[in-house]
Each structure stands twice: as structure tokens, then as C-alpha cells.
């Protein structure tokens, strides 16, 4: 067939397209299982981390999933998804996902409460795009560990506070110096989640809970 002929070009394109598509399908088939496991393991690792479930540092995706399935219950309470774990020393722990706008991009994390639903067991930020060295410090251990043992409500009302002038109340943590905006936004997104939880528990809340 003449190479300059349109029919040839169409045939060539069809064959090339078919070969490429076949190659890609093959690779996708070949890797599908591992990719799915990786994505799930990522998610699972975040949940296990905030719940304090022990797992080996270099655990594979399959191992993580096994640890998760034998320890964590996935429960829906009042329309909110909770990950529940019976911690050997801290008792029942409930973790829930929260998200909100940061200064430069979306921030996502987990808030984990103790069984009394008033005390914070842990807070983790697993996704953020804040300024490195300033707002980006929210995912540092130093900032996240501050939340441990804090109360999500006081006599004055529900909510934690991220304060710049020295945290002293049981619902206050220290803001990151020089990152006032990120600190404020983190406070706002945490309190939105807290209000939903507190409201869902039947306590007075300023906002109605979603769906519950």
C-alpha cells in the first residue's frame, strides 16, 4: 500500500493504537492488585497511626491490612464515620476524618477521641500544603502531640483553641509562631468537626449535625 495514502495512515494509527492499548492493559492488569493494596495501605496506615495501633515500621500492604482488620472496627454513629479501636491501656478510641481549607490548599487529618468523647487522644494531619517551616509544621510531631489529653469542650462551650499567647486552659494548644493564618484555619476546621460530634452526642451545639 502507498505510504502517502490516507488509508495507510489510518491503518498505521489503528495498529499502533491497538498495540499501545494492549501493552497498557497488560501492565494495568499486572499491577492492579498491588496498586489497590498500596492505596488501601496508605489509608490504613493513617488510621492505625492516629489510633495508636502498633504495627511494624516496614510492614507490607497486606500486613497492614491484616493489623487493621483484626483491631479496628468501622462504625457509623449518627451519620458520621468512626474508626473504633479498643486500646489496651487507653480504652475505647474513636477516630474520625476532618478536612478544611488551609492557607494554600486543602488540609486533611484525623481527630481521635477517647471513650468519654471529651478528651482528645490524638490529632494527625496527613495531607497539607502549608508553607514549609511555618504552617507546614502542623504535621510535625511537636505540634500534633500538643493535642493529646486536651478537652474538646469546657464550661464555656465546645471547641479547642489554637492560641498564640501561651496555652494554659485544658482546651488550648500553642499556635505555630509566625503561622497565625494556618493556625486559625486549623482551629476552625477542628471545631467544625468537634461541633458536629458534640452535637451528634445530644449536647447543645451551635450548628446542626449533618444527616444525623
Amino acid at each position: 500500500m502507498n505510504k502517502k495514502h490516507s488509508g495507510y495512515a489510518i491503518l498505521y494509527a489503528a495498529v499502533l493504537g491497538l498495540v499501545c492499548a494492549l501493552a497498557l492493559t497488560g501492565v494495568d492488569r499486572f499491577t492492579a492488585e498491588r496498586k489497590a493494596a498500596n492505596a488501601q495501605a496508605e489509608e490504613v496506615r493513617n488510621v492505625l497511626g492516629v489510633l495508636g495501633v502498633p504495627f511494624a515500621a516496614g510492614a507490607s500492604a497486606a500486613e497492614l491490612l491484616e493489623v487493621y482488620e483484626s483491631n479496628v472496627r468501622d462504625e457509623e454513629r449518627n451519620g458520621r464515620e468512626f474508626f473504633v479501636f479498643d486500646h489496651p491501656s487507653a480504652g475505647e478510641l474513636l477516630a474520625t476524618r476532618f478536612e478544611g481549607p488551609g492557607l494554600w490548599g486543602p488540609v486533611e487529618g484525623f481527630l481521635c477521641l477517647r471513650g468519654d468523647r471529651e478528651t482528645i487522644y490524638a490529632v494527625s494531619f496527613y495531607r497539607q500544603e502549608e508553607t514549609p517551616g511555618l504552617g507546614g509544621e502542623i504535621s510535625s510531631d511537636a505540634f500534633q502531640d500538643q493535642f493529646r489529653g486536651k478537652k474538646i469542650a469546657t464550661a464555656a462551650g465546645a471547641g479547642i483553641r489554637v492560641v498564640a499567647d501561651g496555652a494554659d486552659a485544658p482546651n488550648e494548644v500553642d499556635a505555630i509562631a509566625g503561622a497565625t493564618m494556618t493556625s486559625d484555619k486549623v482551629q476552625a476546621m477542628l471545631n467544625e468537626t468537634i461541633e458536629e460530634i458534640v452535637g451528634a452526642n445530644g449536647r447543645p451545639a451551635r450548628r446542626g449535625s449533618h444527616g444525623g
Binding site: 494554600w104 508553607t131 517551616g133 511555618l134 498564640a164 509562631a177 509566625g178 497565625t180 493564618m181
Partner: protein, 356 residues
């Protein structure tokens, strides 16, 4: 004076071609020029009959900035003097080194940068950071473009942007409270001052510093930018003697004010507050007007000022940054040569059409 002249003349052969210290010729020339007027004279026309040369421009700017220097020392203590020393020592060393590398004369261009740089820094910044910042500003902002007169960006601002991005924590933590009382901090070295939020950062939380404080300067902020009165004193002098272009200053401040007024619903009080807070005034009088990095055509100066004023207002009000003057002036610097080119081309076209 004759004694100095004789000494210099006797030493001169050592530094000439083939002399023992030929490599250090720029240093010798600088010393020569500092005490006496240089031997080299322009011998070919045109001769500009104006007493204004680079050295005199530099001296005038230094005089104009003295009120700000005094205010910075008054409010933030004697440590400011150490910052000036570091700024000059590091900056001049680099200037001398690059003059030797390029085998050119040492240029007095650094004298202004050296004085302005500490004034736009947080007053409690570690001294080594002052040094690193000025080094980056002079090397990247000036020397790699070919030295004084050839730089695209204001070297002091390049150094400051470098520090703000490289050490954000140290920078935002180095804004300290000014001294209070009649003597300020002039009797202290002031290293134990309390870190606090700048007026612009506090204003994002709805806490506006009183306007009289912004005028006098007993607020926190970059060392030389706090006292609006000191800036206006030097700035208006600089405009009056014709070194700073009134077009740049006026269009920058004017466009900033108009856009701020629109964004704050016409509240004149908030607009006035924003004009006095932060680095806007200092930037307008001492940074944007730098003759090397701003346009030369009058129309270009207007456009340049508007670019800076508008972007400063936008950055301050609509982004996560509390201050936008530094970035805005650098942005203006980028446009300066293009503006000149465009306006010169436009007027040439007009002239040609008139002739035709």
C-alpha cells in the same frame, strides 16, 4: 591633604600593570577616589555640566535615610548598629572581590544598599543572617548581572526575599517590641526584647495599632519602616532634591490608596492606616525610586508605580501574606526595562508620524 596625595602617588606604581600589587588595583583606586578626585577625566564629548555624579547621589540618599537609621536605633537598640556593621562589612568585601575578579574599579554602589538593607529587616534578626542575606542580595541581585548600574532587581530587596523564604521562622520571630519611655532603647543592646506580631499581622485578626503610634514609630516592624515621620522627613527631602522621582512615589502610593479604598468600602480611616503600616512608605520613597531598577521614561515611571501600588494592595488584602510591598517592588523591577522600551518605541512612532 598633600601628605595623603604624596603617599598615594608614591604607591601608585605598585598597583599599575606589572606592579607587585596589580591584583589589588581596585582597592587602591577606591582609596584614591575616597580622598582625592580621581586622575581619570572624560576627554571626549559630550560632557554633562552637572555636579551630580553617582557618588553625590549616593551621599544624598544616605543623608535622607539618616532619620530612619536614628529611629531604628532609638526604638530597637544599639544592636542595630551591629547590623549595619555586618551589612557593610560583608557587602563591601563582596564588592571588592568581584571588582578584583572583573578587573574593574570598585563601585560606590554598595553604600546605599548597605544602609538600606538592615532597615528592611526584623530588628532582632541573628547577625549571621544579616550577613548571608546581604551576600545573596549583592551576588545574585547585582554582581551576576554585571555590578552596579546593570542590575535588574533591587539588591537589598533580593536579600530580604531570600531571608524571608529561606528562614521564615527566624524572620517572623525576629519582630520585637520597640522600646518604650523617653529614651527608647538607645541605652540598651536589646537582645532580650519580646517577639510580637507586626501591626499588619495583628490587623488580620482585627487588631489595629493606633495611627499615632504608626506615625511616631513605637510599633513593631522592620527596623527602619516603623516610623512614618522619619520616612517622610527623608523621603520628601529626596523627592525635593530630585533624586527620588515624584512620579514613581505618587503613582505607587496613589494607586495603592485608591485600590485599598475600593477594597475596604471607601473607609478613609482604614486606607490611611494601611498607608502608614508596614513597608509601604519606606518602599515607595527609598526602594521603588532606585534609579537603576526603575524606568527612565516619565510615562514608564507612572506605569511602574501603578504596577507596584496595585499589586501591593492586592497581595496585602487578598493573600496569605500580610505584607506585599517587597514582592510588588521586585515585580515592578521586572517590568521596568520593558516599560521603558514600550514607551520609547511609542514616542518614536509618534515623532515619525508627525514628520510624515
Amino acid at each position: 591633604m598633600r601628605l595623603v596625595a604624596n603617599m598615594l602617588d608614591r604607591a601608585r606604581p605598585l598597583f599599575e600593570e606589572g606592579g607587585r600589587f596589580n591584583l589589588l588595583k581596585p582597592v587602591f583606586d577606591a582609596g584614591d577616589a575616597l580622598f582625592l578626585s580621581p586622575l581619570a577625566r572624560t576627554s571626549v564629548a559630550p560632557h554633562v555640566r552637572d555636579p551630580l555624579d553617582v557618588k553625590r547621589v549616593m551621599t544624598t540618599v544616605i543623608i535622607a535615610v539618616i532619620p530612619c537609621i536614628l529611629a531604628s536605633v532609638y526604638f530597637f537598640g544599639l544592636r542595630m548598629l551591629a547590623m549595619f556593621v555586618v551589612s557593610y562589612a560583608v557587602g563591601l568585601s563582596i564588592e571588592v572581590l568581584s571588582a578584583i575578579v572583573r578587573k574593574e574599579e570598585i563601585n560606590e554602589g554598595f553604600f546605599v544598599t548597605g544602609a538600606l538593607f538592615p532597615l528592611i529587616l526584623p530588628p532582632a534578626l541573628p547577625l549571621w543572617m544579616v550577613g548571608v542575606g546581604v551576600a545573596f542580595g549583592v551576588i545574585v541581585g547585582k554582581e551576576i548581572f554585571g555590578g552596579t548600574g546593570r542590575n535588574v532587581f533591587n539588591p537589598a530587596l533580593v536579600g530580604r526575599v531570600f531571608l524571608a523564604l529561606a528562614y521564615p521562622r527566624a524572620m517572623s520571630g525576629a519582630f520585637v517590641e520597640p522600646g518604650s519611655g523617653p529614651l527608647g532603647r538607645v541605652t540598651q543592646y536589646a537582645v532580650d526584647a519580646v517577639a510580637t506580631a507586626t501591626p499588619l499581622a495583628a490587623a488580620k485578626g482585627g487588631d489595629f495599632a493606633p495611627i499615632p503610634n504608626l506615625l511616631i514609630g513605637n510599633v513593631t516592624g522592620s527596623a527602619g519602616e516603623v516610623s512614618s515621620i522619619a520616612i517622610l522627613l527623608g523621603g520628601i527631602f529626596l523627592v525635593a532634591v530630585g533624586i527620588a522621582s515624584w512620579r514613581t512615589v505618587f503613582s505607587m502610593l496613589g494607586s495603592f490608596a485608591i485600590l485599598s479604598a475600593v477594597m475596604h468600602g471607601g473607609s478613609l480611616e482604614i486606607v490611611g492606616w494601611h498607608m502608614l503600616a508596614g513597608g509601604l512608605l519606606f518602599g515607595a520613597f527609598f526602594m521603588a525610586t532606585d534609579p537603576v531598577t526603575s524606568p527612565m521614561t516619565n510615562a514608564g515611571k507612572w506605569a511602574y508605580g501603578i504596577i507596584i501600588g496595585v499589586s501591593a494592595a492586592l497581595i496585602r488584602n487578598l493573600t496569605g501574606y500580610v505584607e506585599g510591598v517587597m514582592f510588588s517592588i521586585l515585580l515592578g523591577n521586572i517590568f521596568a526595562p520593558v516599560l521603558d522600551e514600550a514607551f520609547i518605541a511609542a514616542s518614536l512612532r509618534r515623532l515619525r508620524e508627525q514628520k510624515a
